[in-house]
Symmetry: C2
Subunit: 340 residues, 2 copies
Amino acid sequence: MRKFISITLFVLSGLFVASCTDNSGVRPEPIQEEWSIVLHGGAGGKSEMPAEDEEIFKIFLNEALVEGKTILENGGSALDAVQATVIYLEDCPLFNAGKGAVMTSDKRHELDACIMDGSNLMAGAVAGLTDVKNPIKAARLVMEKTPHVLLIGEGASHFAKEQGLEIVPNSYFTTEGRVKEIEKLLSERKQGSPMGTVGCVAIDKNGNIAAATSTGGMAGKKWGRVGDVPIVGASTIAHNGVVGVSSTGHGELWIRQSVAHDIYALMEYKGMTLKEAVHEVLWNKIDKMEGGTGGGVICIDATGDIVMDFTTKIMFRAWAKSSGDTGAAVNRTNPEEKKI
Amino acid sequence: MRKFISITLFVLSGLFVASCTDNSGVRPEPIQEEWSIVLHGGAGGKSEMPAEDEEIFKIFLNEALVEGKTILENGGSALDAVQATVIYLEDCPLFNAGKGAVMTSDKRHELDACIMDGSNLMAGAVAGLTDVKNPIKAARLVMEKTPHVLLIGEGASHFAKEQGLEIVPNSYFTTEGRVKEIEKLLSERKQGSPMGTVGCVAIDKNGNIAAATSTGGMAGKKWGRVGDVPIVGASTIAHNGVVGVSSTGHGELWIRQSVAHDIYALMEYKGMTLKEAVHEVLWNKIDKMEGGTGGGVICIDATGDIVMDFTTKIMFRAWAKSSGDTGAAVNRTNPEEKKI
């Protein structure tokens, strides 16, 4: 991943500040009510990122943040905010979702996404998409236009086409970095670490919580492997009055522990704070499981408090609150964070 | 479903007592240690089943029960017991899993299954299988032979073939009753109720809990719709020391509420008994959600206590404990059951 970052950043940094930014509209004054938003662009790594690379990544993370933050400032819904943010991250080739997704063992892309609305516990998800430009849009339409939660494979693509979503050739998702990555993995007969999933959680001025997650999954995956991303309760959850969660990491661990629902349940049934619940699940459960490469979560509770935590070396993340607290980071900013 | 049952029972009852039963071996004396097993063959219906039909169904439910019970009596594992029981139910054309599965809107079969081992929280699942005779065997192999939890579609089939599982043409799963059902649904432009999923939960003499679920999903489903069955934490869970759950019902509700993990969490974090937790989730959550057709769960706690509850009129079920308590039922046996 480090090599990919280094190669890609030089090529893409100029391009993306231009192409992923929409500064055309005049933004009205923010409404003075409370909201919060947090996003991630994946977690992983065996070492911290050099400061100069981190600074470049923060440009993109902040760009993505603006997408959702603007909606919340203007009184829009958490649901629209998380979707807009994830669309930016899907379109940005630096992350493992949409354009720039990792490749399967047969050098294709299979994409998963999930979205949940905490106001009514409605949810939509897709798995194994190969030709829908923005899987998170398909997930949203599954939630709103069908009686279902999860559609997979060709059927999900047919639905997306019926709904008029933009269809692209599978090669649209490919980047030079991902081709090099898969060729290296195949030559070493390995699977990659599941790094780079994207997600967003928000609470809007009405107290509605939403969460969304999108991914290309695990580089070198085969047999139609699906991770935690399209699994409500594993990667993603939103329950008004309690918490919203989006995850990134070793999906199999997340499924086996129902991580997102477990954080919800520890708060709702055991009375833990968000920070305590996240610590319990990430450090006392996930980090102690054998064979995993860990990962991270981003969460917002009903008061708008944000928790971002990860068992890996880095997690791409950015956040903003109506109070003015905002930022972006890749490396761990507080070495004591895990020792609550 | 009533018509299908009536038509099918006359034709199949004699046949199945013969073909699904394996009485060839001499069973050794049971080991005198505690175990429990419970199975379901789906829940649904708008009215109770006539007593004479119920009696015939109980023959098959008891036959399925013998498969798992024998393993537990002889000191086998809960994992082997739930798998053997589900294989019987998949092979039996009366239930919506394996042979006899419902048909999709294009008159095919797409099968899902999940298995979980409470001793180590390992799990395996498959979704959208079209040609593997016993999807539960594929789920077990995903758990034991891959680093993954969930495989879908063609990839899952390729894996099953690599593992040497029996492959069948899609038409193998078709029964006359299912053809009539889908033709009626298509002519009325409806989807069927998701009735007939099968599942089993067991605790063995070592205190290990396992759970397994298998289904053809919702009759008339389209767009690659997948319900709760392959979703760990939605339909199925097994955590030693707490609970095992297998579900049947309107899968979308189960996914949105993470039903199986919610029952676990209410017991583990809120100190509820199994009966209280099931009541809370089924009657205070699922039954109050709009647009759903309900369903049921079968559960075993760490002491071997069994709870079977359902918000529908009927649930096909059977149970046995080392204490000698055993039985099978379709209609509700205790009208006060829901008023804990």
